[in-house]
């Protein structure tokens, strides 16, 4: 166990460096092949050379290696790593604001959204999976199977737009027309966009949309895992001993079946951060995801690169923790 942790930590370092280099090289190649990204800010107008020069320098695109196609720009990469790990500097936007500041403003909303999404997918997903897995071939089983395939195949932005219009606008308008319904529900929870007045209530529906795809995966995973374990010898033994059904399912089956599910939920935190880009754009939540989309649309590539680098680091740390947790949770796995 101890050796495994050390080895996993040692593997973590090259992976982080490699991923950051991949991100760096993709950006460098894009600049080398399509020219200075600062020009995009001016649209059709030709900027004065001095202004262009100044902005280019300030955003860190002035390095001559960015003019040589295919050059991996190791010097630039080393500078970037130094800035990130020693000065905690992820770059600046056009108005001289640090990307770390922008992210600090946006992160509370994204965190709330993530908590709602993960809670929703864990509670509903596991419940649906257990229901389907315990009675394979029943109506509940088919219902879960069919609905999960359907949810997985609807792209999240289609789901988001349709939910916003149907639930937020149409159904919300009906609710807002009734006097007896409190404002928190009618114009908070069922609002088509994020409302600063109801910071928690108006994030519930976006959170559910964000968690929907992973909810389907969680349900399927729980279902398969329960179906496998319920036929295991130790469950039969537990039944033969005469334990109550509740104990056999709650303790013997469920605990073992949830190991892969918990791993998935951990890994999914990273995926949900990427998914938040779409959900926050649709529901206009002022979180990290919308920051990325808005900067991408206006061509502020320095912000996009900085924020994504930060998110990637978070995802990597989350994956590391999940791996270590897995080793603790499942004693059957012996790492050499």
């Amino acid at each position: 166990m101890g050796r495994y942790v050390i080895r996993r930590l040692l593997q973590f370092i090259p992976t982080v460096l490699g991923t950051m280099f991949l991100l760096h090289y993709m950006t460098a190649l894009a600049i080398q092949f399509s020219g200075n990204p600062v020009r995009a800010l001016f649209g059709d107008r030709t900027p004065p050379p001095a202004l262009l020069q100044a902005i280019t320098e300030r955003l860190g695109y002035g390095d001559p290696c960015l003019d040589q196609r295919g050059n991996p720009c190791f010097g630039l990469f080393a500078d970037r790593l130094q800035n990130i790990f020693f000065h905690f500097d992820f770059g600046i936007n056009l108005r001289q604001r640090e990307v770390t500041d922008l992210v600090a403003d946006a992160i509370p909303f994204t965190l709330k959204l993530l908590v709602i999404a993960i809670l929703f997918e864990a509670v509903v997903g596991i419940a649906a999976g257990v229901l389907a897995g315990l009675r394979g071939g029943s109506f509940a089983d088919y219902l879960v199977k069919i609905s999960t395939v359907f949810v997985i195949s609807v792209p999240i932005f289609v789901l988001g737009v349709v939910v916003r219009e149907f639930v937020g606008v149409k159904f919300g308008n009906v609710l807002r027309g009734q006097d007896w319904i409190p404002d928190v529900i009618s114009s908070g929870m069922f609002s088509p966009v994020f409302k600063p007045d109801y910071p928690m209530a108006s994030l519930i529906i976006p959170g559910m949309v964000l968690g929907a795809t992973s909810l389907a995966v969680t349900a399927r995973l729980t279902r398969t895992s329960i179906m496998e374990n319920i036929r295991a010898d130790y469950v039969r033994t537990a039944r033969a001993k005469g334990l109550t059904n509740k104990r056999v399912i709650g303790v013997h089956t469920l605990r073992n079946s949830l190991i892969p599910v918990i791993t998935f939920l951990g890994v999914d935190i990273g995926a949900a951060m990427a998914g938040a880009v779409v959900t926050e754009t649709i529901f206009n939540v002022p979180g990290i995801g919308r920051l990325v989309t808005m900067s991408a649309r206006t061509g502020e590539s320095s912000v996009v690169v900085g924020v994504v680098t930060m998110l990637v680091l978070v995802v990597l740390v989350a994956n590391l923790l999940v791996d270590l947790l897995y080793a603790v949770l499942d004693p059957r796995i012996r790492y050499e």
């Binding site: 991923t19 950006t27 894009a30 395939v149 195949s153 932005f157 737009v161 219009e165 880009v277 690169v305």
Partner: protein, 312 residues
């Protein structure tokens, strides 16, 4: 896949042939015991879900390849007088905000999604498949290097990586989108192939072929690959669907194809604000998109069941 050499059929043929006389009768003219693939084909053709999904994909594919078959209208002949006119017999999907025929736009919009999905999928199958085969077959330091590189690509979340690249490059056309999908998705295929190569490279028939003196390349392509390819085929089918969805998602976020081009993603993102007055503007492209993704996923599921002997 029936061209397994004598070493392969000598070991693998016996249990497959044990299906009993009924299957012999149905295969009829072939006159030999059914292979895994013949069995799978028979099972798939009997599966109504697979057949429906397959027909749907064929329809969408023909829209992409020959849009003239489906519509004689030009999606670019627009007239703002006709903006947002509801569907009618002559124009089944009505007109969009600029007064262009919406049905023609939907038909022509199939092409970019399908072209991107097919090109990116063939790319990852060829490249990822080769690397996975090499890593699984040779093991040792080849495997270590390839696996570490795969880890690195894995840790970059798909959507985030795509947004970064497409924002910086600013040339958002079919080629760059295909490129970024390919770049970020090949390790999954490589990992799948690597796993199934490792599990089948020590089987008896491979050892037998090795003992007879087959070269490495022959072992890989004649003996190991045909038996390791099934999981890749399943994944490639599903990934076609997710690439169609990914193209639309990137377009919706504003980093994919840009408006003069025609695609379902553009149809959805341009008309989302008119949902309340004219919901059909949103429902037609959404329906086509979801149907395509769903069909690919269902086909993949059916393929998995048909190719896995455990489910017989």
């Amino acid at each position: 896949m029936s061209d397994l050499t004598s070493a392969g059929t000598a070991v693998g043929g016996a249990p497959v042939g044990g299906d009993g006389p009924s299957t012999e009768a149905t295969t009829g003219g072939e006159g030999r015991s059914a292979s895994l693939w013949a069995d799978a084909r028979r099972q798939l053709l009997r599966d109504p879900i697979f057949v429906i999904a397959f027909i749907y994909v064929l329809v969408v594919g023909s829209m992409a390849a020959f849009p003239k078959l489906w519509t004689s209208q030009d999606p670019r002949s627009c007239n703002t007088d006709r903006s947002r006119i509801s569907p009618s017999g002559e124009h089944p999907f009505g007109f969009d905000i600029l007064g262009c025929d919406y049905y023609a736009h939907a038909i022509y919009g199939a092409r970019p999604s399908m072209v991107i999905a097919v090109m990116a999928t063939s790319g990852i199958v060829l490249f990822g498949g080769t690397l996975g085969l090499l890593a699984g077959y040779y093991g040792g330091w080849v495997d270590t290097i390839i696996s570490r590189v795969m880890d690195i690509f894995f840790s970059l979340p798909f959507l985030l990586g795509a947004i970064v690249f497409l924002t910086v490059i600013k040339r958002q056309n079919i080629w760059t989108i295909t490129g970024v999908l390919f770049l970020l998705a090949w390790p999954t295929i490589a990992r799948i192939i690597r796993g199934s190569v490792i599990s089948s490279k020590d089987l008896d028939y491979v050892q037998a072929a090795k003992a007879v003196g087959a070269r490495n390349s022959r072992l890989m392509f004649r003996h190991i690959l045909p038996n390791a390819i099934a999981p890749m085929l399943v994944y490639a089918t599903i990934v076609l669907g997710s690439f169609v969805a990914a193209e639309a998602t990137l377009t919706f976020l504003g980093v994919g194809l840009q408006p003069p081009a025609q695609s379902w993603g553009i149809m959805i993102s341009t008309h989302q604000v008119y949902f309340l007055e004219d919901p059909w503007l949103l429902l037609f492209p959404c329906g086509l998109l979801v149907g395509t993704v769903l069909s690919f996923i269902l086909m993949g599921d059916a393929l998995r069941d048909a190719l896995d002997p455990k489910f017989r």
